[in-house]
């Protein structure tokens, strides 16, 4: 047997951690909040686990005037503070010892000349054309600028190496912006080189939705309009906007969570089984779902979408201010802190099934879940007197916290009479697996370095998501009803108006 018979890298077979090509990772916005809280700790944890490439270098790019040593101190402090694993000082030293910092404006060619020189130096040391991954964790207005400058500086040339760009959300704030940005990005990169990050997709429980649906034969026969009455997708937070007023007051709840994360959850829930779990096969199926959601018409928006803002209330036993009293928020702001939608997926499998999406800040508690309510049994042969609410079965997939799946069933209350009440059959992730889930950013950074785009959003998905949300964003920008709800509550009373056929919102 020769190595040719053994296929690509025979030594990789059976390994849990697949090898990654030698890589230089460049973080734009290297001193920003995301870099310090998430990216640097994630990279450290990959190093700690031995998952980084054999040769790996890190370059930070930002506008602040810092030396390599000063940025090294910032990075080390961030990792010590935010890493999920207590840092091993030897690994930390090893990771940061060759770290480079390039200071400069994102639209200045000098920045990219300095960056190119640093990358060339790393290549020379390695004696190899190392792969390049550019992580754009800047404010979104710089995405197009950075991509353009990288291209102009010749840093996107991928003839003798892999070159990839990871782009943070939000990818545009409207369909027009998303299209324009896609055009600019794709003038410098091929779509296969672009990794639009949505960190929700890196969560283990989100990925488990695919396993849950496609590795268990029992659900597929039920997974359609004949058996499912409605679906509720909830992403609730108990906290307010904290220090994010600058971003949040421009974005609002719809842009912040619905236009990306929640529509991705909906797509994963509704997609047809892909031919394979390669990136494009999975994304082809997701985008079909998004295309099957009709663009909301202006005249129906008030009946399928609701926005609201939290007012002062009590959260966690403490009095908290309303949104308009938060630091950095304009006193007359109309930004929604709560958004709820009713959507329909107009295809053979899902026609007529309402999908309710809601998200909000300062709600009763933090939870992200998908609740699938099955149709009730056609005839209840039992006497209902004395029964505690015979309810349709609900299958609830909890993304966070208490990750797991629960199924509500009607069960007989012990005793001489046939009385029924709902009970829960619960599966909790923590009880059944020994392994700790990696942070979403660890998984996604590693996938991008490997070139696996399965958990990243493709250009047509982004545009399809904006096509659904754009008319609602526009209608709300023009004015209309802005409901309110007390901080720490279940949300606005008006949300029940979205529900059809006697459905009820699940308690948050």
């Amino acid at each position: 047997m020769t190595l040719a018979d053994l296929g690509p890298n025979p030594l990789a077979a059976g390994l849990e951690r697949l090898p990654v090509a030698p890589t230089n990772l460049v973080i734009f916005g290297a001193t920003g909040d995301l870099a310090r809280r998430k990216l640097l700790p994630a990279i450290y944890n990959l190093a700690h686990e031995g998952a980084l490439p054999g040769r790996f270098n890190l370059v930070g790019v930002s506008r602040g005037e810092l030396s390599d040593a000063e940025y090294r101190d910032i990075a080390a402090e961030s990792i010590r503070r935010f890493s999920r694993t207590p840092p091993d000082e030897s690994v930390l030293d090893g990771l940061l010892s060759e770290l480079r910092y390039v200071s400069g404006s994102f639209d200045g060619s000098a920045t990219y000349e300095a960056l190119g020189a640093a990358l060339a130096e790393f290549d020379a040391t390695a004696g190899d054309a190392m792969a390049r991954v550019f992580y754009l964790s800047t404010a979104p207005e710089f995405f197009a600028v950075i991509v353009g400058e990288l291209s102009a500086a010749g840093l996107t040339v991928a003839e003798d190496r892999d070159v990839r760009a990871i782009i943070e959300k939000p990818f545009g704030t409207s369909l027009a912006e998303a299209r324009a940005l896609n055009e600019q990005v794709l003038s410098a990169f091929d779509e296969s080189q672009v990794f639009r990050i949505d960190h929700y997709l890196g969560k283990e429980t989100v990925q488990n939705m695919l396993a849950f649906r496609f590795a268990n034969g029992m659900f597929e026969p039920l997974w359609n309009r004949n058996y499912i009455a409605n679906v509720q997708i909830t992403a609730a937070e108990d906290i307010g906007i904290e220090s994010r007023a600058g971003y949040y007051d421009h974005a609002g709840a719809l842009r912040d969570l619905v236009s990306n994360h929640m529509l991705q959850l909906l797509a994963l829930l509704c997609m047809e089984p892909p031919v394979s779990f390669t990136a494009d096969d999975v994304r082809d199926e997701k985008v079909k779902v998004l295309h099957a959601i009709r663009t909301p018409r202006e005249e129906e928006i008030s009946s399928i979408a609701l926005r609201a803002q939290y007012r002062a209330g009590v959260s966690g036993g403490e009095a908290v201010p309303g949104y308009l009293e938060e630091d950095g928020v304009a006193a007359d702001s109309h930004t929604e802190t709560y958004a709820a939608l009713r959507l329909e997926v107009d295809n053979w499998r899902w026609a007529g099934v309402p999908f309710y999406l809601r998200t909000g800040k300062r709600l009763a508690r933090k939870i992200t879940e998908i609740a699938v309510e099955l149709r009730p049994v056609p005839h209840l042969a039992f006497e209902q007197a004395g029964s505690l609410g015979v309810r349709p079965n609900q299958l609830v997939m909890t993304i966070q916290p208490n990750e797991g799946v629960s199924l509500s069933l009607g069960a007989k209350i012990p005793g001489t009479r046939m009385r029924i009440r709902p009970v829960n059959m619960e599966f909790l992730y923590g009880t059944a697996f020994l392994s700790q889930s990696p942070e979403a950013y660890e998984r996604l950074i590693l996938d991008a370095m490997r070139g696996d785009a399965t958990l990243f959003t493709r250009n047509d998905e982004v545009e399809a998501q904006w096509r659904i949300c754009d008319p609602i964003v526009s209608a709300w920008a023009r004015g209309g009803r802005l409901a309110t709800y007390a901080a720490g509550s279940q949300g606005p009373q008006e949300a029940v108006d979205l529900l059809l056929d006697g459905a009820q919102w699940r308690a948050i």
């Binding site: 890298n9 030594l11 077979a13 059976g14 700690h48 031995g50 000082e89 090893g94």
Partner: protein
Amino acid sequence: MPAVNDNVWAAQGTTPAAIEAALRDLLIERHNESDGYVPARVLNLVCVVERQWSGEIANRLRRVGRYHPSRTIVCAVSDGRSTIDAVASIAADATPSDGEHVLTHELVILDVGEGHLERLASIVDPLVITDLTTVVWAPHGHWSAVEALRELSQCVLLDSVEDPDVAGALRRAQRLLADRYVVDLAWLRSTPWRERIATLFNPPSRRGLLEEITSLRIRNVAESGASALLLCGWLSSRLGWGQGSLHRDGHGRALGSLGAVSVELESAQQDVPGLGGVTLGFRDSSALSLDRSDGGLLATQRDADGAEHSWKLLGASRGEGGILGEGIRQTLLRDPTYAESLDAAAGMLT
């Protein structure tokens, strides 16, 4: 991780049925305290140990952290005992606050005699959680107990480096593999080395070098010969080398695609068990080495002209506590390359 609270039951001269009933009562009692207590349901670990050394094993198990088995059944063996004493406990790492779940783990310690070992299955069977993977670990060499639990267990955890007879240890692992999965801690000690070697040859431009290997030197502490041999067996089986042989002095050869590959196992001085370094030599007299160092493995490339370049492949050491935890985790996974590597390694010693 130390438990913050325990529910405990104990009895002398007891029976498996009584212990099982006590465990059920303890679970109900714990649930009545708070429905936030949720029993872990991942795997059963049956651990057969010499009673006088059971404390040391208990200490090792405490250090596995999050890889704690759901139910651990420790059979502490002492000479001359004919009755069974038992202590059963349910431990939680915290007290659940409102809306939170806290995992609980069960521990059963059985004092048994040598005479119980042949019929250990009938003692342990009522105590394992049905439908979960059951793993057997006999760190003090109670192989008759491992055999007695053959039908009850799906996996055997062992550590070939603890047996001074390396050839015997590898042959035993081969025999056990015939009807159960085997997780050998000696194999797991080689994992970081296998991962880094695979990484070094992952770029397509370097892949061709795999066909040009002419020598393999593995440096290991004397007690870790099994890890070194398994690493050698892994390279041999993955690269399709012909059956090799290794002499008692640590020198031998295998048949690579371009001819003989010299194999050398040599002693390394280090404080921890396992491997200390690996060097691969190539036809053009260049070489690539990996050596244990702080914060990862140090890679050194020596070119044909003698020039050397070094760089660090980062990774934190798991330590010996980490190895046992990793072993428990691996009992729920399947490594398809272990059996082939084991066969190749064992074959070199025959």
